[in-house]
């Protein structure tokens, strides 16, 4: 039987380590590599010109590489669901191959195509190569939930077998066996569109900083490895001023588009480490960036609402402000804070910014200063950032805005101090905001504080030539830290004075290991089993102070425990334990001296179980999703109709944390600590 293969490129724009493409070639009589693109949608989509340029360059490079193999890239205009039936018939296709797309949207789209291919009698072969690990396996190993902390994720990964070894590039011999005639008018029918065709205006387009394509990616990989050897700190590079600039060794956009295989990078790093350190197994921290990427992919793969707050079970519901004007100032680099504006300018011009710069602008937009939703920032990144993956982008934004993943929120980057710390001279500012170039170092991060004479001498008067700061950072961060505290205290049911204890303790680490017991204490990331696994969240008595104000906390929190507020005598307990006669308050917080007596009693105390149930809750929600979705494992070769419906049909409604409904209706809040106690102890408290 004749085998006519079509390999469908989406991400994974490369010929090296491309398992699905290898499947296409395997025993085939003809093979065609297609990329499907809808120019009509291109202009409308929320994707900026730099990202399009990168993509087109990557396609160009792919086409060139295929030419060398006596083949070509077929860029087909249209939507996949319209294009494929046509191609199936026209080319008499019998086999369709593509790389597995773990993102919910991709799974849905692919489900439809698989179904369609079946109807046409076309065999579909799908291979996982965009991520190092099989994400469903990670989820399975974490009791069918995606891990919610990076640490937990690392622990699981350390118990997995090593990722698949990369495959060799496609060889001319392989291609020769399934040689496909290229028609005379190939360039008319299947050419790569220009930016103009996609509706972009290209005059005045700055020169490209990140050239797209596999060839560039492989060159960069070599430089990247050389540099690692050179700086001799391959695990934990320290950040310096030059880290802020686009580096010729940067790889993230290439991983995003799959111009570089993450498996190739992984094994190159591993081998380099073993060569240099002469140790048998490298620490996980060596693969920091790669693992963060996997972490967010895992968290997102079964959560179609991963990119929004509403209906997203892992996202804390935070009462963000809406303010289009402020958002525009941020997005266009007109905040009046040179550090923020320089970063946003670099992002817009070049399409990449350093991860610390991402932290700075994301913190500024959300919990630090402007108190605007992370979703709006994520959309701007999606438009401008070359390496913006759906999962990684949304995940990072949730992380940086403290909307998920249980981190401390106290750490708020100062739009003046953080920049100065990273680049004391301010040359980075001068490069991206030339109007400030003559400011002395002392004022370049806060030009509004420069005396008028200095401003005039520098030919840039604040308020005239450069905007005044749009917000008073001290005041803004004061307000915002309070807001965050409100949100998180509600989440953790913590009422004490401690800022740090406001963040719920996630119990993931404390869970018993799931598979290989022998490895638990030998892995590089698992410390010796401690006497008491998690006392971080323990607190002997909730505080009476804020507890009096318990109803004042913001309670639109997704992770909030539904049933808890109602029967939360602990809240009142602490007031009851305040003897109004003697006025002797109970220790107010876990931080208080007397709480030190038995700090390890966390598990049995009043707060412990509550925090646990919070986690349990989150986990339960995930488990539900897991159940619905785990069938869509990577054995997609034979994905049935049912399964594909399963992907699409996971109803958001059932997953929407129903607690929200409770939160909005029931107000737990027996606000009154002192009074309630004297009369009706428990009843009054909840009425």
């Amino acid at each position: 039987m004749v085998v006519n293969s079509v390999h469908w490129f989406r991400k994974g724009l490369r010929l090296h380590d491309n398992p699905a493409l290898q499947e296409a070639l395997n025993g085939a009589d003809t093979v065609r590599c297609v990329y499907i693109l809808d120019p009509w949608f291109a202009g409308a989509a929320n994707v900026g010109i730099n990202r399009w340029r990168f993509l087109l360059e990557a396609l160009e490079d792919l086409d060139n590489s295929l030419k060398k193999l006596n083949s070509r890239l077929f860029v087909v205009r249209g939507q996949p669901t319209d294009v494929f039936p046509r191609l199936f018939k026209e080319w008499n296709v019998t086999r369709l191959t593509f790389e597995y797309d773990p993102e919910p949207y991709g799974k849905e789209r692919d489900g439809a195509i698989i179904k369609m291919a079946q109807e046409f009698g076309v065999e579909t072969l799908i291979r996982n190569s965009h991520t190092l690990y099989n994400l469903d396996r990670i989820i399975e190993m974490n009791n069918n939930n995606p891990p919610l902390t990076f640490k937990r994720f690392q622990t699981i990964v350390s118990r997995l077998e090593l990722p698949r070894r990369p495959l060799a590039p496609i060889t001319p011999q392989q291609m020769h066996k399934c040689h496909t005639n290229i028609s005379e008018n190939h360039d008319q029918l299947y050419n790569i569109p220009s930016l103009e065709e996609l509706g972009f205006r290209t005059e005045g387009l700055p020169t490209v900083v990140w050239r797209g394509g596999e060839s560039e990616a492989l060159e960069r990989l070599n430089k990247h490895l050389d540099k690692k050897v050179w700086v001799a700190s391959i695990e934990h590079p320290r950040v310096s001023t030059c880290s802020l600039y686009a580096s010729p060794t940067g790889l993230s956009p290439y991983l995003r588009f799959g111009c570089l295989s993450c498996h190739v990078l992984y094994y190159n790093l591993r081998e380099l480490y073993m060569k240099l350190r002469k140790r048998c197994s490298p620490p996980l921290s060596l693969f920091g960036q790669l693992l963060w990427r996997e972490f967010f992919y895992t968290a997102a793969t079964n959560n179609p609402n991963f990119d929004r707050m509403e209906g997203n079970p892992i996202c804390v519901q935070i009462p963000w402000d809406q303010n289009p004007e402020a958002l525009a100032k941020w997005a266009e680099g007109r905040t009046g804070f040179p550090w923020i504006d320089a970063i946003m300018t670099q992002l817009r011009q070049e399409g990449w910014i350093h991860h610390l710069a991402r932290h700075a602008v994301a913190c500024f937009l959300t919990r630090g200063d402007l108190w605007l939703s992370w979703e709006s920032g994520m959309k701007v990144f999606e438009e401008l950032l070359l390496d913006a993956d759906w999962s990684v982008n949304a995940g990072s934004w949730m992380w940086l805005s403290c909307s998920a993943f249980f981190q401390q929120f106290f750490h708020c980057y100062c739009p003046v101090g953080f920049g100065r710390r990273t680049d004391p001279t301010g040359d980075y500012i001068r490069r991206y905001i030339p109007i400030l170039k003559d400011y002395p170092n002392r004022y370049i991060y806060e030009p509004w504080n420069a005396p008028e004479s200095v401003q005039k001498a520098a030919n840039c008067v604040v308020g005239v030539d450069y905007p005044k700061p749009m917000i008073n950072h001290a005041e803004g961060s004061r307000l915002n830290i309070e807001r965050m505290k409100q949100v998180y205290q509600q989440l953790s049911h913590y009422r004490g004075l401690s800022l740090l204890a406001s963040v719920p303790t996630i119990q993931e680490e404390a869970e018993p290991p799931m598979t290989d017991e022998s490895q638990t204490s030998s892995g590089p990331d698992s410390p010796p089993k401690p006497p008491d696994v998690d006392t971080a969240g323990c607190s002997t008595a909730p505080d009476s102070s804020t507890m009096g104000m318990s109803s004042f906390t913001v309670d639109n929190t997704a992770l909030e425990e539904a049933s808890l507020p109602q029967n939360e005598p602990p809240t009142t307990i602490s007031s009851t334990s305040t003897d109004p006669m003697t006025g002797q308050p109970k220790p107010p917080s876990p931080m208080s001296p007397s709480a030190n007596v038995a700090p390890c009693s966390g598990r049995s105390n009043s707060l412990g179980p509550r925090r646990k149930s919070l986690t349990r809750k989150a986990r339960w929600n995930q488990r539900q999703r897991g159940r619905q979705n785990c069938t869509t494992a990577v054995k997609e070769d034979r994905k049935t109709d049912e399964e594909s419906r399963d992907i699409t049909g996971t109803s958001t409604i059932t997953r929407h944390v129903p607690r929200k409904l409770v939160d909005e209706t029931y107000h737990p809040a027996p606000v009154e600590n002192h009074d309630t106690q004297s009369h009706t102890p428990q009843k009054a408290a909840y009425l």
Binding site: S285, T578, L661, L687
Partner: protein, 453 residues
């Protein structure tokens, strides 16, 4: 359908379809909690009865539920579920309106243009004011950043004439929108509550234009009952205004205000014999303009405070530039919780170790590029109560950090250190420091990480 039930449904109609999702999760997670247990046991007892008796008798059973049990159950139900239940029969409908169920209410006032969150339905607000305003005791208003929402809150406040509130909270969830209202408008609404509610006990009015005369009204009507007052960043209040409150309200136990309102006189007033022990004092130190000069508080005033209320907590949030710390931490200060929201110098942190013997929690958002080794070790030595520490943009050598943890031991219940803070040295690298720290803490510990992407 009762006239109040309709607005409840109106408010939640969009959520009705989600209702199904509620039940399994509650069962799953409420497992250890008493309300779920109650629900379950109730179900169980019903079931058992059904096993014994014919169906009809089982049906009779719930109708005979004593009112107080019904009330008890209703307490645990969200408003929407109570509204559903109220349609079952007349008795349940009566139960729905029992005053006990309307003591506590939170008004959420949001505009679609400025918030992502739902607002309390206007009809529901109307009905509550009409039927249940005299039952309200614990009331809070959450407003988004729009002026309209703050105005709406004031409108409701000024209608609360026939109720006696025990707690009132005005909470800006985004920007301080009450500040945008004309002062007179806000004050007249607020004083309605002060005058009509004679036993106000807790009042949270941070970021509002409350002023001295309105505090006088508060004192005149509620001095015997007031226990908690939170008024951080209320620019129209003067030190004299808050002093008047402290002088008259001897039951005041918790107070939050900005540093410019803090005076020696205030501390003396709070530590007078007539005054109850203070439990919490929260001070926000915010600089309005760079280079601002701050007044000092005498050590003797703090000493008086500690003598009077030996266990009181002093929580201080600093939002200052490094050069503005001059007057602080020169003398011993009884601070227990210390938060540096901006960069703080190595020098000041060194002083903290010398002057804050009661320190329980220390959070440093940022510091310079020089390691804080000696400062931390000194804090570990001198601050024997310290049990929580958070470090953001700072630097500490791994060895010094391990030493710090070793000295504090397992009393460090909260230890949040960004990974970048720790500078590897000859003794410890980043990949092994968590072992050492975990060992001294007696539990698993890792530094905090940020995504590197």
């Amino acid at each position: 359908m009762s006239e109040i039930v309709a607005p409840v449904f109106a408010q939640f109609s969009f959520l009705n379809r989600m209702k199904r999702g509620v039940e399994p999760s509650e069962q799953q997670d409420g497992g250890g909690t008493s309300d779920a247990v109650k629900k379950k046991s109730l179900k169980k007892s019903q079931k058992q009865r059904r096993d014994v008796h014919p169906e009809e008798e089982g049906a009779l059973y719930w109708e005979c539920l004593p009112q107080e049990i019904l009330l008890h159950i209703f307490q645990y139900l969200p408003l929407l579920d109570r509204a559903y239940a109220s349609q079952v029969c007349r008795r349940w409908n009566q139960a729905f309106h029992m005053p006990e169920l309307w003591r506590c209410f939170e008004f959420e006032l949001n505009q679609p243009a400025s918030s992502y969150l739902k607002a309390t339905h206007p009809d529901l607000i109307k009905q509550i004011i009409k039927r249940h305003s005299n039952h309200l005791q614990y009331v809070s208003f959450k407003v988004d950043s729009s002026r309209e929402s703050a105005e709406a809150a004031c409108d409701i406040l000024s209608q609360l004439v026939n109720c006696s509130l025990k707690t009132l909270g005005l909470i800006s969830t985004a920007r301080p929108s009450f500040m945008e209202l004309p002062k007179s408008h806000f004050i007249s609404a607020l004083t309605v509550v002060f005058v009509n509610s004679k036993s106000l006990s807790s009042l949270k009015i941070d970021d509002t234009p409350v002023d001295d005369p309105s505090l006088k009204v508060l004192v005149a009507n509620n001095s015997d009952t007031l226990k908690l007052l939170k008024m951080s960043s209320c620019p129209h209040v003067s030190p004299a205004g808050i002093l008047c409150v402290a002088d008259q309200c001897h039951g005041l136990r918790e107070l939050a205000l900005n540093y410019h309102l803090l005076s020696d006189e205030l501390l003396i007033a709070l530590s007078s014999e007539k005054h109850v022990h203070l439990e919490h004092l929260r001070i926000d130190v915010v600089s309005e303009n760079p280079g601002q000069q701050f007044h000092t508080i005498k050590k003797s005033s703090w000493d008086a405070m500690v003598r009077h209320s030996p266990k009181f907590n002093l929580v201080m949030y600093f939002f200052l530039y490094e050069d503005e710390f001059g007057p602080f931490f020169r003398d011993e200060i009884p601070v227990t919780h210390l938060y540096f929201g901006r960069s703080v110098s190595k020098d000041v942190l060194g002083r903290v170790g010398l002057t804050c013997p009661r320190l329980v929690e220390l959070v440093v958002c940022a510091n310079g590029l020089r390691p804080l080794d000696e400062e931390l070790i000194r804090i570990a030595q001198r601050c024997t109560q310290l049990s929580a520490i958070g470090l953001g943009e700072c630097e500490v050598s791994c060895s010094a950090f391990v030493e710090f943890v070793k000295m504090c031991g397992d009393r460090l219940t909260q230890l949040s250190i960004m990974e970048e803070v720790l500078v590897p040295d000859h003794r410890y690298g980043l990949d092994d420091i968590h072992w050492e720290v975990s060992k001294h803490l007696g539990r698993v510990w890792f530094p905090d990480m940020m995504p590197t992407w």
